[in-house]
């Protein structure tokens, strides 16, 4: 773990860093968004999306490979541990990675001179986002039966969410139908919450509830998927 840590973080961070530089620093300085600086608008979005991306792929891709290719998952399935303990372990590992990445983004944003309010609630929401997408990673890893399909899952589910769920622009600019779809996706609520909190507004209870429900459902689905995998 420790040996691959450096490599892992640097490669995962390239994407979000590019967004930060290109959209935020590069073109963002000239754009005003809801009366604020564009940088202040997108940093919470980028934090949300990197929390999602890192946690999902840390768990999903690794666990899928370990199940189908390396067969190291067998070692866990042979051990006398419950499937909820197994899922919890994997989810926490993914969460730690997601948290670290998000914090690095935040730290860099501060270096760029962005003004954000980072309080306990903010960190709570980042944590919850990481938990949620780590759990989704477990489900995908157990259900998807090939490495290519896992890549497809990322392309068709995770990638669109990265761009559309209120990360780079406000979804009310999209046609109504899209708006409804986007409103039920978890990442939308993560970025709404982070943005509200970062700009000093309070918590949005409905969005928080949505995240909690998603996290719980995905975790339960993960436990069932592990039980079903044998």
């Amino acid at each position: 773990m420790k040996r691959t840590l450096g490599k892992f973080f640097t490669s995962r961070l390239v994407g979000p860093l590019l967004y930060l530089v290109a959209f935020g620093w590069g073109m963002g300085r000239s754009i005003q968004m809801n009366g604020g600086n564009y940088m202040e608008f997108i940093v919470p979005g980028i934090v949300a999306l990197s929390a999602m991306n890192t946690s999902f792929s840390a768990v999903g891709v690794n666990l899928n490979m370990s199940r189908l290719y390396y067969k190291t998952l067998d070692e866990y399935l042979l051990a006398p541990i419950s499937s909820s303990a197994l899922v919890l372990g994997k989810v926490l590992a993914g969460t730690v990675r997601g948290l670290v990445d998000s914090l690095i983004i935040l730290a860099l944003a501060f270096l760029f001179g962005t003004h954000l309010v980072v309080n306990g609630w903010f960190l709570m929401v980042v944590l919850l986002t990481c938990l949620l997408f780590s759990a989704l990673g477990v489900v995908a890893a157990m259900v998807v039966n090939s490495h290519e399909d896992m890549a497809n899952f990322s392309t068709f589910v995770i990638l669109p969410m990265s761009f559309l769920c209120g990360t780079f622009f406000s979804p009310d600019r999209l046609p109504k139908v899209f708006g409804y779809i986007i409103d039920v996706l978890p990442l939308t609520h993560a970025s709404y919450l982070l943005r509200a909190l970062a700009s000093g507004q309070g918590i949005i209870p409905l969005s928080l509830a949505v995240l909690v429900v998603y996290a719980t459902v995905f975790f339960a689905a993960g436990v069932v998927a592990v039980l079903k995998v044998r």
């Binding site: 773990m1 040996r3 067969k71 067998d74 070692e75 006398p80 541990i81 044998r230």
Partner: protein
């Protein structure tokens, strides 16, 4: 009826693994088709069979990695459904595919296993030292598993399977791809463990391995058990003496119960021929050889 009961009560304590009508279907493929088999306590049992016979599938069902589509398994009296943690403590598994964590060291691989089996730290450390010495990897303890040779990886997998003191060891092709020295080393390990009371169920394609190592062997073909017994019994069954005749480039085998019959048959032939004692390989080929029209 009476006799049945007596036999059951005599054999009851002896059998540590019991499969009844065990079956697994993958889509249209019947990988295992209703196996009935009892493995005795403290025996070394070998499963033989051509590629795709269903050996790995059987082992995976016995070790609860795959759910059977029919039949049942009893291991040490425990069902392999419902709460599995009790059964899992009883068994150690060396899978067919190398599945060590290559990013971890030899030591860490064992430690991970110990932790997963909730072994207390002191006991874990002691067991690791013991097993590393047993499989002769003590001096490689802090190397990455990736850096080991194939035979060493195999030995590490055996050590890992033994960490939590299982009473039954499942090994799927434990010596595949190893050189003769490495293979003999693993045979010695298996014999040593067995002499300390371990039941071993292994699969192999090396017939001489089954012959020298296993107390009993079962030959599987297309998901079925087609022969079962000690190597000697099986040889008796097909005939202890073989006459090989070279017939237009194809070797033909005929089996005979004794030398006289074999000589009698050979006397009538004019072709090149060899008369020798049957080995387990002959049994295997005779039983599983898919001759055209057979």
């Amino acid at each position: 009826m009476q006799i049945d009961i007596i036999q059951a009560s005599l054999g009851g304590d002896e059998q540590i693994i019991e499969l009844s009508q065990l079956a697994k279907k993958y889509g249209d493929v019947q990988a295992v088709a209703g196996l009935d088999l009892k493995i005795d306590n403290e025996e070394i049992f070998g499963l033989l069979g051509p590629n795709g016979a269903g050996k790995t599938t059987t082992i995976r069902m016995l070790t609860m990695l795959t759910k059977p589509t029919g039949g049942s398994v009893l291991i040490n009296g425990y069902e392999t459904t419902g709460d599995l943690s009790k059964v899992k403590k009883e068994i150690g598994v060396v899978p067919q595919h190398m599945n060590l964590d290559l990013e971890l060291t030899v030591w860490e691989n064992l430690e991970l296993h110990g932790c997963l089996h909730k072994m207390p730290r002191a006991e874990r450390q002691q067991r690791m030292q013991e097993l590393l010495a047993f499989v002769e990897l003590t001096d490689r303890a802090h190397d990455l598993a990736d850096k080991l040779s194939g035979g060493m990886k195999r030995r590490l997998m055996i050590a890992r399977a033994l960490m939590h003191h299982p009473g039954i060891l499942f090994m799927d092709e434990p010596t595949a791809g190893l050189d003769p020295q490495a293979r003999r080393k693993i045979w010695d390990l298996i014999r040593k463990m067995n002499s300390e009371g371990m039941t071993v169920l292994l699969t192999t394609h090396y017939i001489e391995e089954a012959e020298v190592l296993c107390h009993r062997v079962g030959i599987m073909d297309r998901g079925r058990l087609i022969a079962l017994g000690t190597p000697t019994e099986l040889k008796k069954k097909v005939g202890e003496i073989v006459v090989e005749t070279l017939n237009c480039g194809d070797t033909e085998y005929r089996f005979f119960a004794g030398r006289e019959q074999a000589l009698g048959y050979a006397g009538n032939l004019s072709a090149n021929l060899v008369i020798r004692e049957a080995n387990l390989e002959d049994v295997f080929v005779e039983l599983t050889g898919r001759r055209v029209g057979a």
